[in-house]
């Protein structure tokens, strides 16, 4: 087969194979999804800072003792880091709550605006 014909041939072969019932496999599991637009829910998850201590390691060859030492330092500083991450998480979460409230208000105002433009009576404010 010439290289120029290979892709077309593969497409035909795949169609024929599917017609025979092949390639219907369920290939579930870890799959990459690019993040184009982060939802507020995802931001909420990310807002809580929880560093994974096991990721602290040395990249040097035979760096196990250095990794051990780094993790020892980390444990010694745990009290301080907990204070840092809790303050950071608190700030992140409050900003996100405000953001969610603003989104709700904007949505309500847009809906109200749409009703006014269409001549409908505005909804009575909640008591």
């Amino acid at each position: 087969m010439r290289p120029e014909d290979a892709v077309a041939s593969a497409r035909e072969a795949a169609v024929a194979a599917r017609a025979r019932g092949a390639y219907g496999d369920s290939l579930e599991g870890f799959a990459i999804e690019p993040t184009d637009r982060v939802s507020t829910e995802t931001l909420m998850e990310w807002a809580v800072i929880e560093p994974d201590e096991s990721l602290m390691r040395s990249t040097r060859r035979a760096g196990a003792p250095i990794t051990w030492f780094k993790r020892l330092l980390l444990r010694g500083m745990r009290q301080h880091f907990n204070e840092l991450t809790s303050q950071e998480s608190r700030f992140n979460l409050h900003v996100l709550v405000h953001l969610a409230e603003l989104e709700d208000r904007v949505r309500q105002l847009e809906e109200e605006n749409a009703r006014l433009r269409s001549g409908e009576a505005p909804e009575a404010p909640e008591a």
């Binding site: 290289p3 892709v7 593969a10």
Partner: protein
Amino acid sequence: MTRVVHQVLSGAGPHDAVTTQARAFRSLFRSWGWKGDIFAGHIDPRIASEVRPLDELGTPPPDALLLVHYSAYAPRLRRVLDLPNRKLLLSHNVTPARWFWDYEPTVAIHCQLGRAQLPEYAARADVVAGVSGYNAAELGSDVVIPILFDPSSLGPAGVAASGGPPELLFVGRLAPHKRQDELIRLIALLRRHRLPDARLRLVGEPLNPNYLAALTELGEQLAPGAVTIESSLSMLELADRYRGAGAFVCLSEHEGFCIPLLEAFHFGTPVVARPVGGIPEVVGDAGLLVEDRDLAVVAELVASVVEDVELRAALVERGTGRITAFDRDHTASALRAAVDRTAAAPR
């Protein structure tokens, strides 16, 4: 007068493609009687003897040129823009952040900032170039300084191993945009429908331990015992992997250039790849480019590369010829022309 060209990198590492290029360029400069050092914002300790910290760049003599390799955000690199020296910006491409947010947020932030910062660098450089036409076009330029591919560092092409089970190979960082997860699904399909004893070998430094663990688990789940993941290989070991491969398969979603394609050509390994970013320019007609998202099509294509002797021979022959487009003379000529153009740029 001896020309001085200092090269500036955001980061330098022993296996990093940009660092490898900077070292190759320095070797070219020296062969032309020029001078210049390599400076980086972050230096891997393993290469500290060859690269100087960026702080040591200081204020170079006014007639020294700065070749800025841009591949990632580096806050301290911005200082270089304020220097009065003429600058040649060489874009190696920055991967879009969308591939990293879920897996390594720090890398995502650097990518996001890097891509946002790149136009400013381009605007303040005297000449803007890319290692591929794709990279150059992103910045509105048509100046290309291709990657200098030196196969001598890889050893001789040698003889491809035969007789064993067919092995697919991919070489590249274990990172989301390289889509090793797709390759694992591909090998699972191949084994179930076309090549029952096929294997997959992934070579590359993992983005982080969690990402490596996720890929390893996926391999065990979909193709138990058929997926091998390796990193930090020596050149000799890497050469062996290429020689033993039945095909080099690249399903990356983003590549500014993709040097392993040239390595595969050098070792006579047939190439199947997705035509994204700079890949079509690198591959030319020497590999099979498949844009289909349907992995069944890719599986059929890979199976024909492994099984069809005529197809395989044609790809190997074309691959061998393709390397000449990235040889020392070709890149040296483009590099020298770009440096001359930078030196002559009006101020």
